[in-house]
Amino acid sequence: MNGQGLIKGLGITLKHFFQKEITEQYPDVMPELATRFRGCLQFEFEKCIACGICVNSCPNNVLSFETEKSENSKKKKLLSYTIDFQYCMFCNLCVEGCPKDCLHFDHDFELSTFSRDDIKRVYLRPAEMDEEKEADAAPVQDEQESKEQKQIDAMLKALQKNPQKILAKMLEQEEDIGILSELMQSNEKTAGKIAELLVKDKEKAAKVAAGFVTKEKKNRLQAEKGGEE
């Protein structure tokens, strides 16, 4: 007390006066970044198989892509891949989820742009990819199979777009249609299966759909009971 603390404080600042400064000279000297530093999200078009895991894992709808079903190939053809960077939280979930390692963060952290449109990155299909494919890959796939696959995909799209209309062909009660469409929205597998069956065997599809609905109803009933208890 009695000023000792004041003098001690003055001593500390004086000591620091002669110490080396720690300021980083940023635009002149770039900072040293850790290897894992997450700057800008980069996408490698060639590796992508358009599986959609990244899109599903993203919490903030940053990622989206467009695909096309080529006639002579079973595989989906990636047309474009969009990273709407303004919503990115740099959480790394997409990178961790990607099975083909085609997403990665680089060390570029200067992300500001003059207009909002520039933040969005759209990767278009490079032209040389198509040329290569046409040269190497002869149409060896079964035409029938690819056609079917295309039909399934179309059906799936239709299902997602307007489930009521298609499901009404199989299920009678409106309540059931609602349940099934909800189920499909939350679970892609269900939707895929129903779409596949709809193309191949309509009767079987109706049966399976009915099965799904009853199972879901049971689940809900149980959940309600559990809640009440």
Partner: protein, 366 residues
């Protein structure tokens, strides 16, 4: 005798010392504060509602935004809550890494509290020293999680990736320097006569009031109750560590300030033990891609965050998203004592009290 007018002064929502978008309306008679009305909600982002539309994994990055100064702590709390809900076992190594990251976050948060108190009371240099030391923690976060502030490194079932090689030396040197940092903060600020005069006896929160209001964390411990969830109800592997809970009895601003500085040392001790006992092995449990809890299950999990008891209450309806998620945010509850501790003090005490109660608005507004 002489009667003066009562007038209201709006401290915030845009004010240099309200630590974010806090709006404290001070009802004043001259320089004496009659009452403080706390208006919250300027940083409301409906985090709890967002949780209902995200899968369990997708919500992890959002939790970091609750307490953005101690990012690993709210993430840890959420991940442990989900693990409790789903019954996921976390590998040993991941548990230790989590402890290290959580305690580093606690230190970072306390350093912000310390340096912010410094600048709120006019000791600008104090701010700079605290920030300088915190920068080392940020560097450690960057090398492990890839991001400096909102690293979202802790994941459900473990951590995002194994620690890099340079991690252990960096943490070790930081832990070794903690006593030096504490000496510096104490020398520059705590021992200073002006500092003591501004803090001693200011904003006294009695033991009874603290309990009544549900205050937790360093603010509660400053009021004389050595309650720490790490000891009272150990989560993770906290029961394996040897550390003390600093507690004071005065409940004034100086005690709250001193508790935070002492906790730096205790966190340093925990990190040291975790570093010494760090086992080898996996860092992430094998968990399914789609996490689903049984319908109707619910869980409440609480951890000792840098600000107090941070709890997550999750209800599941069987889907891959929480049916309801509630966050028990310590700052929100700690802020409620602000009018209580400010009444009768002078205007400058309001700033001191906000600083030493150390609220974080991301958490209290949610």
């Amino acid at each position: 005798m002489m009667q003066s007018d009562i007038y209201n002064v709006n401290v915030g929502p845009i004010h240099p010392s309200t630590h974010g978008g806090l709006h404290a309306e001070a009802v004043m008679d001259g320089e004496i504060i009659q009452d403080v009305i706390v208006h919250l909600g300027y940083v409301h982002r409906s985090v709890e509602k967002i949780a209902e539309s995200k899968t369990y994994q997708q919500f992890v990055p959002y939790t970091a935004r609750l307490d953005y100064l101690a990012t690993n702590l709210p993430v840890l709390g959420y991940c442990q809550a989900v693990e409790k809900l789903l019954g996921i076992e976390v590998p040993e190594r991941a548990e230790y890494i989590r402890i290290i990251m959580a305690e580093l976050s606690r230190i970072a948060s306390h350093q912000i509290a310390i340096s912010a108190t410094g600048i709120d009371l006019g000791a600008t240099t104090g701010l700079m020293y605290g920030m300088r030391d915190r920068e080392r923690i940020m560097n450690i976060f960057e090398m492990t999680g890839g991001q400096r502030l909102l690293s979202s490194y802790i994941r459900i079932g473990g951590v995002g990736a194994d620690i890099p090689d340079e991690f252990i030396p960096a943490v070790q040197s930081f832990v070794n320097d903690i006593p030096k940092m504490m000496d510096e903060y104490n020398g520059l600020m705590t021992g200073n006569e002006i500092w003591e005069a501004r803090m001693k006896g200011v904003g006294i929160l009695s033991k009874e009031d603290a309990v009544k209001y549900g205050v937790t964390g360093p603010n509660l411990r400053a009021s004389g109750i050595a309650y720490d969830i790490r000891k009272a109800e150990p989560y993770g592997i906290y029961d394996r560590f040897d550390f003390d809970i600093p507690a004071r009895s005065g409940g004034d601003s100086l005690d709250r300030w001193n508790i935070r500085i002492e906790e730096l040392g205790e966190s340093g001790r925990i990190i040291q033990q975790a570093l010494d006992n760090l086992p080898e092995g996996e860092v992430k449990a094998k968990i399914p891609k789609v996490l689903k809890a049984e319908a109707g299950t619910e869980v409440y999990h609480r951890i000792e965050s840098a600000k107090g008891e941070l709890g997550y209450y999750i209800v599941s309806d069987g889907g891959n998203k929480p049916y309801r998620l509630h966050v028990r945010a310590p700052s929100f509850i700690n802020l409620m004592v602000l009018p209580l501790v400010c009444r009768g003090g002078v205007f400058q005490d309001l700033i001191t009290n906000i600083a030493t109660l150390d609220p974080i608005l991301g958490e209290s507004d949610r």
